[in-house]
């Protein structure tokens, strides 16, 4: 049977070439791409941004935007060429035979329609004969199938009443509504927290095994691929670099690019938690949640104690609804001089809020902050208490952290101006900093949109360093970058800290990234410090169940 399926693939892409007609010139997005998808398998399409993987997914769905034209090759679905079908036939195919799951679960659902109605609507649209009652019972089954607890109650709820992971489950239910043969899933878990990501991937694997649907999984994350894909196609610059079974690609990659991709993924090295427990006193007492103070440095550069931050909600007290849940509750952290300390947590854990409080960008209701031996009143705005400017930040999205209307040179000169309170007469400082961060000086006259993501992030690092801060807070500085660039930036940050003696607070959702970088790690959960200690302790000795879960949630075989 295996043999037979091999001869008759469900979907066959042969020498597909796609061009996009831009304002100025046509660019080739896909070049001579071939692949095949068999029934019931998960095919991973992996590549960095610009690899053409999403375009390929859309081509299979017949959803290419205007401006794209197919100049060569063909896509065969059950032996029929998709591009030769009429619009009507293609519509029939889409949804019923081939459906899709997209990254943004919020945008995929109608916020003004209950999720049940949305599933029912899809079922009815795809099957004219179905009655309303039947459609509803099918919708309930689907909700049950994708793991929504208590579907009968949840049927009438609206998307905002579900968590991100549950919303993505609903999206999956809708994708399944027409009993499709193929689902194209474009980064289905990239917007989700690690622990939730793991569950969704398990669900997708389960569904393909049980219903026989085939999945095209478009992703940039090797971890996701290794977790559930049967076979992988590695893409770069619109071409297929390598393809084969997942295990063989991961274990014995043939191409240099694949090796680079694999090497760039931060890996966790974990010693099983129960191996040795010697460092008892540093773990958190589960009853009181009291975290032992980091005792490495008697004179830390930063000491934050018992910070509590509550977002006020509506400015009129009588219009505030419900109890205010604090973003941070009695959080204390310390940062040793010249070290990198990590703050790790999932979204909503308060880790970014902590970073912004340390930088003086936000106030806190209660708590004290001691920087370089100086006490700051953090209930006041950073401008008033003098904290603002002592700390510089590197932000998550480099596209948003540079003024699009200001040249790189002008942006960096602002930093020099800040550090010296005078406009630089020559650009010596700026130029030297550019050299040190591996940026060509010619970029000084460029504008942000002319730079790559990695270059922009380097400029942001340069801007932070030129201001001569005592601490740099890096808030997910690599999350918006491609994996290969991520590794460069992490290396650069590490080098910067050791060369210039800066101290750094590194905020991340990714434990693996933090492991190599940070000496001390704080794990945040729901606004409290859940676990804390040296990197060694966290990864090998901590028995905190949440820490263990975070470590286990890292998808893929990289946890060994």
């Amino acid at each position: 049977m295996e043999q037979q399926e091999h001869h008759e693939p469900l979907l066959l892409v042969e020498n597909l070439t796609l061009k996009h007609q831009g304002a100025a010139a046509a660019t080739t997005i896909l070049r001579d791409v071939s692949l095949e998808l068999r029934r019931g398998e998960i095919l991973g399409l992996i590549g960095e941004s610009g690899a053409g993987k999403s375009t390929l997914g859309n081509a299979v769905l017949g959803l290419l935007a205007s401006g794209f034209s197919q100049t060569g090759g063909r896509i065969l679905f059950e032996g029929r060429a998709i591009n030769e079908l009429s619009d009507k036939q293609r519509m029939e195919l889409r949804g019923r035979r081939i459906s899709a799951i997209f990254q943004d679960h919020t945008a995929s659902l109608d916020p003004l329609m209950s999720v049940g109605s949305q599933i029912v609507e899809t079922i009815k649209a795809l099957d004219d004969a179905v009655t309303s009652r039947l459609a509803k019972s099918q919708a309930l089954q689907l909700m049950e199938r994708v793991g929504i607890p208590d579907p009968a109650t949840r049927f009438g709820h609206y998307p905002h009443q579900f968590s991100g992971g549950q919303r993505q489950r609903i999206v999956i239910a809708i994708a399944l509504a027409g009993r499709p043969d193929i689902i194209v899933a474009d980064e289905p878990t990239s917007a989700l927290d690690a622990t939730v990501q793991k569950q969704i991937l398990a669900l997708l694997r389960n569904l393909t095994d049980e219903t026989g649907v085939s999945l095209i999984l478009v992703t940039h994350d090797m971890g996701v691929i290794s977790e559930i894909a049967d076979r992988v196609v590695v893409m770069r610059h619109g071409k297929v670099v390598e393809h084969g079974a997942t295990s063989s690609i991961l274990d014995t990659p043939a191409e240099a690019y694949t090796k680079d991709l694999l090497a760039a993924v931060p890996r966790l090295r974990v010693v099983p938690a129960n191996s040795q427990i010697t460092d008892g006193p540093r773990s958190v007492d589960p009853q009181t949640k009291v975290v032992p103070q980091a005792t490495l440095d008697q004179n830390p550069i930063l000491r934050v104690k018992d910070v509590t931050k509550i977002y006020a909600g509506h400015s009129f007290p009588w219009l505030r609804r419900g109890p205010q849940s604090p973003a941070l509750r009695d959080v204390s952290i310390e940062l040793a001089r010249g070290s990198i300390t990590g703050i790790v947590g999932e979204s909503g854990s308060g880790k970014s809020t902590m970073g912004r409080i340390v930088a003086g960008l936000e106030t806190a209701g209660r708590g004290s902050l001691d920087l370089n031996g100086r006490q700051f009143d953090i209930s006041l705005a950073g401008k008033k208490n003098g904290l603002l400017g002592q700390v510089q930040m590197i932000f998550q999205d480099p596209a948003m952290s540079l003024n699009p209307r200001m040249s790189i040179g002008a942006a960096l000169e602002e930093s020099v101006w800040f550090a010296s309170r005078e406009t630089p007469s020559d650009r010596q400082d700026v130029g030297e900093m550019m050299d040190r961060l591996g940026l060509p000086r010619s970029l000084l006259l460029s504008y942000p949109h002319q730079l790559s993501g990695g270059q922009k992030q380097r400029v942001c690092i340069a801007r932070a360093l030129l201001a001569n801060p005592s601490i740099i807070v890096a808030d997910e500085p690599t999350s918006a970058l491609d994996v290969s660039v991520q590794a460069d930036i992490v290396r650069l940050l590490k080098k910067t800290v050791s060369e210039r003696g800066v101290s750094m607070l590194f905020i991340s959702h990714d434990l693996a990234l933090v492991q190599d970088l940070c000496s001390e790690i704080y794990i945040f959960k729901d606004g409290v410090v859940e676990d804390a200690g040296s990197a060694d302790f966290i990864f090998s000795k901590s028995q905190n169940p949440y820490t263990r879960r975070l470590i286990d949630a890292r998808p893929g075989r990289f946890t060994h």
Partner: protein
């Protein structure tokens, strides 16, 4: 980003940049600028007026050695010349007030977004108050309070128009202010002036720019309305609105040309500005592409 917008504006494929309304508008501007050279008569110089030739119908030959192409009004002034001179004042008032209103409004909007809380509330409540009153009413109150004069009417038009720019700009500036490059600017303790004018303003100005051509048409119409009501430009400074008003009382006696031709000139001007404005807005607004 700005350069991109401008480039697509000029290089938009498949559509000609020059349209009939644009040509008409350009003709208006040329006529207004060169008005005193083209006009056969200075209608506001009593020495050039032949009072006995008042209310001549269009095409009558005048004593000055030229034909009254569009006739004369009740005081013997050549309507064609009146229109040319009036056009100059009307366009000057409209362009100046629109430019000033845009500048003040954008600055106020960006400042509100930057200041936040109290400053924001203060500026935006003034804006709300202003936008809740009918335009003509605000303009009338302003004129009555300020008194007559070209500078006063420009001021009145600015008072009427700045609020629209402020509201539009403030919305965009608020979303820009939440981006991390603004956090970075705060972390460098840049002076408020620099944050507002170098960081916020250039990134929030686009919607206000698309508003300019539309508001320009409003300004012309509003100025004409005020002048028609006798509250606008003083009698000795002609404008299209007062030219229309001049002939209003003669309409029923059959001397239609005194009001009709200035009125038509006004109509053509506002219509061409609106067509060009709509075109510019469509080209600049990324959502409509």
């Amino acid at each position: 980003m700005k350069t991109d917008t401008m480039r697509t504006f000029w290089k938009r494929p498949g559509r000609s940049r020059v349209s009939l309304p644009l040509l008409i508008l350009m003709a208006y501007v040329v006529l207004a600028v060169a008005g005193s050279l083209i006009a056969p008569q200075n209608p506001y110089d009593p020495l050039q007026i032949y009072a006995w030739e008042s209310s001549s119908s269009p095409g009558t030959a005048g004593s000055g050695g030229y034909t009254y192409l569009l006739g004369t009004d009740g005081l013997g002034r050549d309507i064609f010349s009146t229109v040319l001179y009036g056009l100059r004042i009307s366009l000057f008032v409209a362009f100046t007030s629109t430019a000033l209103a845009a500048f003040i409004g954008v600055t106020a909007g960006v400042t509100a977004a930057y200041a936040g809380k109290l400053g924001d509330a203060l500026i935006m409540r003034i804006v709300d108050l202003q936008l809740s009153l009918p335009t003509i009413l605000v303009a009338l109150i302003a004129i009555v309070t300020l008194g007559p004069g070209i500078d006063r009417i420009i001021l009145a038009l600015v008072i009427v128009q700045w609020a629209t720019y402020a509201r539009v700009t403030r919305g965009v500036a608020m979303s820009e202010a939440s981006k991390s490059y603004l956090d970075a600017a705060h972390l460098l303790r840049l002076p408020a002036r620099r944050i507002i004018f170098r960081h916020l303003l250039p990134n929030s100005i686009a919607p206000a720019i698309t508003l300019v051509p539309i508001e320009l048409g409003h300004a012309v119409a509003l100025e004409a309305t005020l002048s028609f009501l006798g509250l606008g430009v003083p009698i000795d400074k002609p404008s299209l609105g007062s030219a229309v008003a001049n002939g209003f009382q003669y309409l029923l006696t059959g001397q239609y040309w005194i009001s009709l031709f200035p009125g038509l000139a006004l109509f053509g001007l506002i219509a061409s500005i609106n067509f060009v404005g709509e075109d510019v807005r469509r080209r600049l607004d990324p959502r409509s592409r």
